[in-house]
């Protein structure tokens, strides 16, 4: 053990250096390539086909020399054509004295799935939680700039935060069903809104559970406790709960990170189905997942937005050095 391990480590480093230096292997072609190939056809037809590594490489290299942290983020022109439902404008956020988000400006297009990727601690969850003002619950958080939700300012002076949150759904990293029946979990948002008609509640419950691909599994035990479900079911229940009030935006904070591959597959399939109906903003740690489920991807690093563009383009031909390094697995 003692003598073999260092040798192994050396050989790994060697092979990494070797492949990084080798011009024959385009950086983006490693790891994510097959997934992207499968996804590219489905999402944006305008994206370059994955079979053009030399140009990709050339572009990545040429841009790498010119850009560094602190430069303006690269936003793909295609985003300008989209209708934005959320506009984040020069947004800064401080935890006490520590600044967590720097000058974030991005538009989240309507009816599309937008992924936020980046290494741990880059501020992607913080940004997501700023959208529905969940960060208000944390002490000593201060913000500058604003977020526009439709015509409204999320951090405006007279904004009704409760009403605002009712128009957004949120799914968390760890499934967190409430300690009540499956039925009551799903209709929670409606109960908050004061809905009492049984027929409406029943309808919404079935529709949401079907929407979350959970109806068939639980229709016979709607009134049993939600805590008896499996982890994957619980997470889909949380999605059903989040879409029950028909939110305009669905915020997902690493919804699959605590799930096994099969449950992850189901949730991802679900996100595919939600596309078009809902605007989804999803934080993910998993680049393959971002490539699989999203139309647009934003890459964040150290609290800044680095690059934002169509998913296929971003993974195939990243404009910024940090993006390329991250998606090729050189750090993060």
């Amino acid at each position: 053990m003692v003598t073999t391990q260092p040798r192994n480590r050396d050989s790994i480093r060697e092979s990494r250096e070797h492949s990084a230096a080798s011009p024959a292997v385009p950086p983006a072609a490693r790891g994510t390539a097959p997934l992207r190939a499968a996804d590219g056809a489905r999402t944006t037809p305008a994206s370059p086909p994955p079979s053009m590594p030399p140009t990709a490489m050339a572009r990545a290299e040429s841009s790498a020399a010119a850009t560094d942290v602190g430069d303006q983020p690269f936003v793909h022109p295609e985003l300008a054509a989209e209708q934005a439902v959320l506009s984040i404008e020069d947004f800064q956020l401080f935890y006490g004295k520590r600044q967590a988000l720097f000058d974030i400006s991005m538009k989240v297009p309507q009816g599309k799935v937008t992924a936020l990727i980046g290494p741990s601690g880059c501020g992607k969850s913080t940004l997501l939680r700023s959208v529905n003002r969940l960060n208000d619950l944390i002490d000593h958080v201060r913000i500058e700039g604003n977020i526009r939700f439709g015509p409204e300012r999320v951090y405006g002076r007279n904004v009704d935060v409760i009403e605002l949150r009712q128009r957004m759904g949120m799914v968390f990293q760890k499934s967190n069903p409430f300690p009540m029946s499956i039925y009551e979990n799903v209709v929670y948002a409606l109960r908050i809104a004061g809905e009492k008609r049984r027929r409406v509640l029943d309808e919404v419950c079935e529709k949401s559970l079907r929407g979350a691909a959970l109806w068939e599994e639980v229709k016979d035990r709607l009134h049993t406790g939600a805590l008896g479900m499996s982890g994957g079911q619980q997470q889909r229940l949380c999605i059903a709960r989040a879409i029950a009030a028909e939110p305009e935006v669905l915020l997902m904070d690493e919804p699959c990170s605590a799930l096994d591959p099969i449950a992850t597959g189901k949730v991802e399939e679900l996100i595919h189905q939600l596309r078009g109906q809902y605007t989804v903003l999803i934080v993910t740690h998993n680049m393959q997942q971002a490539a699989r489920v999203s139309d647009y991807t934003a890459f964040m690093y150290l609290g800044r937005l680095i690059e934002y563009g169509p998913t296929a383009t971003l993974f195939a031909t990243p404009e910024r050095r940090q993006t390329e390094d991250y998606i090729t697995g050189r750090f993060g």
Binding site: M1, V2, T4
Partner: protein
């Protein structure tokens, strides 16, 4: 290879890469034996002390049963104290009295305690009040119960001019509040933050989140805390001596001096008559039995309703 018979064949590739100096069979054997001995010693120590606790418990219960068991009869539960030294009767009025006192104390103490606990856990993050409140709670929980009795005497007996049940109930409630407040707080803090966030994110108000999500998530453990508080006050004597005083009559009117099991036991046990002393033992047996049942109920609750996060 034949020289090392203890080596299994599949060890060999690993063994080849490891420095052999610390793998000599002899040394390893001694080390192993010492480690096992230490482990055994620890086990024996723990087992020994556990047995000691059990022995003490068995001694107490055995003593109680052997002395009080004789005096414990159906009459204990159905008759009132007769006042005659040779035929002391039962403690019916004391049992009912204790029940009513606990109910009244809970009626006041639980809402106040739980509300304080919710405040400490949910609302106090920015408040300068939280620290002092928490400190005072801990202080009050440690105050000797006779102090509470004298306080009740000064505040509720002297102004009214006579001993009364209300004063007793309030004294017990005063003891319950800090216990309930601190347990409630501790249990609510354990509810994962993401539960609150999920509810808030759906547009719920803070009040609704607390009432519908946070408190229900911790119900099992809060009930445990409440039961512990009840068990604690069920055995209190000192505060009741100064406030409710005790009574030989069955009364449902808390304006009167009020009977309770513990005071009745105290009166009989300190009195001169052997038959009454024996009845006091029976009373203690019943009290211990009640607390035992209460503890079993606690266990049942804490097992059936774990905090939702786990």
């Amino acid at each position: 290879m034949n020289a090392k018979p203890e080596q299994k064949p599949d060890d060999r590739p690993v063994a080849a890469t490891v420095p052999t100096s610390w793998r000599r069979p002899g040394r390893r054997g001694i080390g192993q034996r010492w480690i096992r001995l230490k482990s055994l010693l620890m086990w024996a120590l723990c087992l020994g002390f556990t047995a000691m606790i059990l022995a003490v418990l068995a001694l107490v219960v055995g003593y109680l049963v052997s002395i009080g068991g004789d005096a414990l009869s159906w009459e204990f539960f159905t008759r009132l104290p007769s006042g005659e030294p040779d035929d002391p009767g039962g403690m019916k009025q004391a049992l009912i009295g204790t029940g009513i006192l606990i109910a009244l104390a809970s009626l006041v103490g639980l809402p106040v305690g739980m509300a304080a606990g919710v405040y400490l856990s949910e609302y106090s993050s920015d408040s300068a009040l939280a620290g002092p409140v928490r400190f005072v709670c801990d202080l009050l929980a440690g105050v000797p119960s006779i102090v509470v009795g004298i306080l009740g005497y000064e505040l509720l007996v002297v102004p009214l001019g006579h001993y009364n049940g209300w004063a007793g109930a309030m004294a017990l409630a005063f003891i319950m509040v800090p216990i309930v407040a601190r347990t409630t707080e501790e249990m609510l803090v354990l509810v994962p933050r993401s539960y609150r966030e999920a509810s808030i994110a759906l547009g719920a108000t803070k009040a609704r989140t607390i009432l519908r999500v946070v408190v229900p998530s911790a119900t099992g453990s809060i009930v445990t805390g409440i039961m512990l508080a009840i068990a604690r006050v069920a055995g209190e004597t000192a505060p009741l001596l100064f406030t409710a005083l005790g009574s030989r009559l069955l009364t449902l009117d808390p304006n009167q001096p009020f009977p309770s099991l513990t005071v009745q036991i105290f009166n009989y046990a300190t009195g001169p008559y052997p038959r009454q002393k024996q009845l006091a033992w029976a009373g203690i047996l019943v009290l211990v039995g009640l607390i035992f049942v209460l503890n079993l109920t606690i266990r049942f609750f804490s097992r059936s309703a774990r905090p939702a996060g786990s």
